[in-house]
């Protein structure tokens, strides 16, 4: 057995072949069950801080792969965002809405409603969409080739009805 696993999009398998009757979709409940149990066990093994870091990193890989395999990176920015919004809805990941954009500074405020990770959660004191932060950063990084910092400033879990992310290009 290899010591290291490198993610590969093909590892997701052929769902049409593998699930001819059940299809490509499952319930959000199952998705969250996996996420939160991972969070549980990781935090106990590695500590909460490290766990959240790893969630962001994993989300980042997911975002990059999503961008490469699902999105059309040849589009101009506005078209790309429109495409991203459409795909996020189509794949039932969430409803992305831009609130502010500064194309020169490459800074954006965006919300994700009905977010896969946190919508409907009881109120904690902290935002929980660390995986999403990484996911969004991964998409922007893959599209632009620049480094991005994404911070969830509001979350369903902190009392908002939508998750709000500040997206900023990291200055070199």
């Amino acid at each position: 057995m290899k010591d290291v696993y490198n993610f590969n999009w093909d590892d997701l398998g052929d769902l049409s072949e593998g699930r001819p009757n059940l299809g490509g979709e499952t319930s959000v409940l199952v998705y969250r069950l996996m996420q939160f149990t991972f969070k549980d066990i990781f935090s106990k093994e590695l500590g909460k801080k490290k766990t959240l870091e790893l969630f962001v990193k994993a989300g980042n890989i997911a975002g990059k792969e999503f961008c490469i395999n699902i999105l059309d990176t040849s589009l101009q920015f506005n078209d790309f965002i429109a495409d991203l919004k459409e795909k996020l809805v189509a794949l039932k990941i969430g409803i992305l809405r831009i609130e502010k954009s500064d194309d020169e500074k490459r800074q954006y405020t965006m919300t994700v409603s009905e977010d896969l990770d946190c919508s409907g959660l009881p109120i904690f004191d902290e935002s929980v969409c660390d995986y999403d932060e990484g996911f969004i950063a991964g998409i922007f990084e893959e599209y632009t080739g620049e480094k991005y910092n994404v911070n969830e400033v509001d979350c369903w879990a902190t009392g908002d009805r939508t998750c709000r992310f500040e997206v900023k290009q990291v200055e070199n």
């Binding site: 429109a82 809405r97 609130e99 902190t158 009392g159 908002d160 009805r161």
Partner: protein
């Protein structure tokens, strides 16, 4: 403070709020929890007080949102503001969407905002259709074989299509904002510059009239003029005159064609007055000349003589040697005659094998001599086929009061006599 009193105080506060609304200061919790001795009651009062605060905050928050203030905030733990925060986020997003549209981004769709999504997306669809129409219009102006300018109501150039620039030799930067009636349409075809107030295109633009000129000139960057056909139509914005669309076409080629046409017409006219076979004047032309020469002779009391002659037995030539041989005889004969008359003598084919010579300044003796000379020349000339031919002549001279017909008839009678008398001779009358 006992529970009964606490409830009474809260109740009167709520009654008041129901009656007057929350007003500016909002709800004020009527009890200071610190003054409640009982631990359990004090905790309840604290919780109720914090609910009052949340209600006040939610009230204030919704009021600000209702006024369109999207900068307003509510604390995270306020459970009354949660749906409002959703609304707040939607409004912020819609503001962004609208700004994007204003910037020309027609790619965004609004998802899951109820009726608003439908309206917004419908609007985007119709704007896209307009955009497509605009693109089509742009293509049309690009490929249009005519020059096109858009000017404002002062005549300042706002837009021009590639053809306009090509025809006039400008780049758009060079003429953007220039007045069309100063640089481009400023003169008449003869080079006269329009006087102030008299430029017809400028006047049409300023008044909002149509203007059409099929024979104008535009001045190119090089200073050269090109002949143009130009049309101008006013355009309106909200019922106010907003300038004009001007189209023009280079009609240099057309003019050239026109010139060619004129040449052809001149040729046709000439042909109409020339005998097609021999190239000398025809009867129509002769009639005109005869009339004017008679008038002149009458007016100036000058002398004028007329010869009519025809080829003896010409029908036999045609019958024996064919029509093309007959034609050759006619052609050679006319050359021979032309060489033996004066420049001022007017020689024409009268019809068939009959010819006329009108000889101004020649009296009867002179014209008899001329006819004799011509007769002799032809008699001595060797025509290939049929070899020899002869001519019969009738001559006469102008008498005071003669009309065209009278003069011709007299000559014709003389010719008749020449024929009767054995041909190859000159008779006069």
């Amino acid at each position: 403070m006992d529970s009964h009193l606490i409830l009474e105080k809260i109740d009167s506060c709520l009654k008041d709020a129901k009656k007057h609304g929350l007003q500016k200061k909002g709800l004020t919790f009527p009890i200071d929890p610190a003054l409640v001795e009982d631990d359990e009651l004090r905790d309840i009062c604290s919780r109720l007080a914090s609910f009052f605060d949340m209600l006040n905050e939610a009230f204030h928050y919704s009021e600000q949102l209702a006024q369109g203030n999207l900068q307003v905030n509510a604390s995270r733990a306020n459970i009354f503001t949660m749906s409002l925060k959703g609304l707040h986020a939607s409004l912020t997003h819609l503001t962004w969407q609208v700004n994007q549209v204003a910037k020309g981004d027609l790619n965004q769709q609004v998802y899951f905002l109820g009726e608003f999504s439908n309206s917004f997306n419908d609007m985007i669809d119709s704007l896209r259709e307009k955009q497509i129409l605009e693109q089509k219009l742009k293509i049309i102006t690009d490929v249009l074989g005519e020059g096109l300018f858009l000017v404002d109501s002062d005549g300042k150039i706002i837009f021009s299509n590639p053809e306009a620039l090509k025809l006039l030799g400008y780049t758009f930067n060079e003429i953007e904002g220039a007045l069309i009636h100063i640089g481009i349409f400023k003169q008449l075809p003869d080079g006269t510059i329009f006087q102030p107030g008299e430029n017809p295109l400028c006047n049409a633009i300023q008044i909002g009239n149509d203007y059409n000129e099929s024979n104008g000139v535009f001045t190119c960057k090089s200073g050269f003029m090109i002949p143009v056909m130009v049309s101008s139509r006013p355009v309106y914005k909200n019922d106010t005159l907003d300038g004009a669309v001007i189209t023009f076409r280079d009609i240099t080629e057309q003019k050239k064609n026109l010139e060619t046409l004129e040449t052809i017409n001149r040729l046709l006219e000439k042909q109409a007055l020339t005998d097609a076979l021999t190239g000398i004047h025809n009867r129509m032309k002769f009639d005109k000349i005869l009339t004017s020469e008679i008038q002149r002779a009458q007016r100036n009391n000058s002398i004028l003589s007329l010869i009519i002659f025809d080829i003896d037995h010409f029908k036999q030539v045609n019958d024996t040697y064919g029509h093309s041989a007959g034609d050759n005889v006619l052609i050679r004969l006319t050359r021979l005659i032309t060489c033996n008359i004066r420049v001022i003598d007017f020689f024409a084919r009268w019809g068939g094998e009959e010819f006329v010579v009108l000889s101004p300044g020649t009296g009867l003796d002179g014209v008899i001599q001329l006819a004799e000379k011509l007769r002799g020349k032809v008699e001595g000339y060797n025509f290939k086929e049929p070899g020899k031919i002869t001519l019969s002549f009738g001559v006469t001279t102008f008498h005071d009061g003669d009309t065209d017909t009278v003069l011709i008839n007299r000559a014709d009678n003389a010719l008749y006599r020449a024929k009767e008398s054995g041909r190859n001779q000159v008779q006069y009358n």
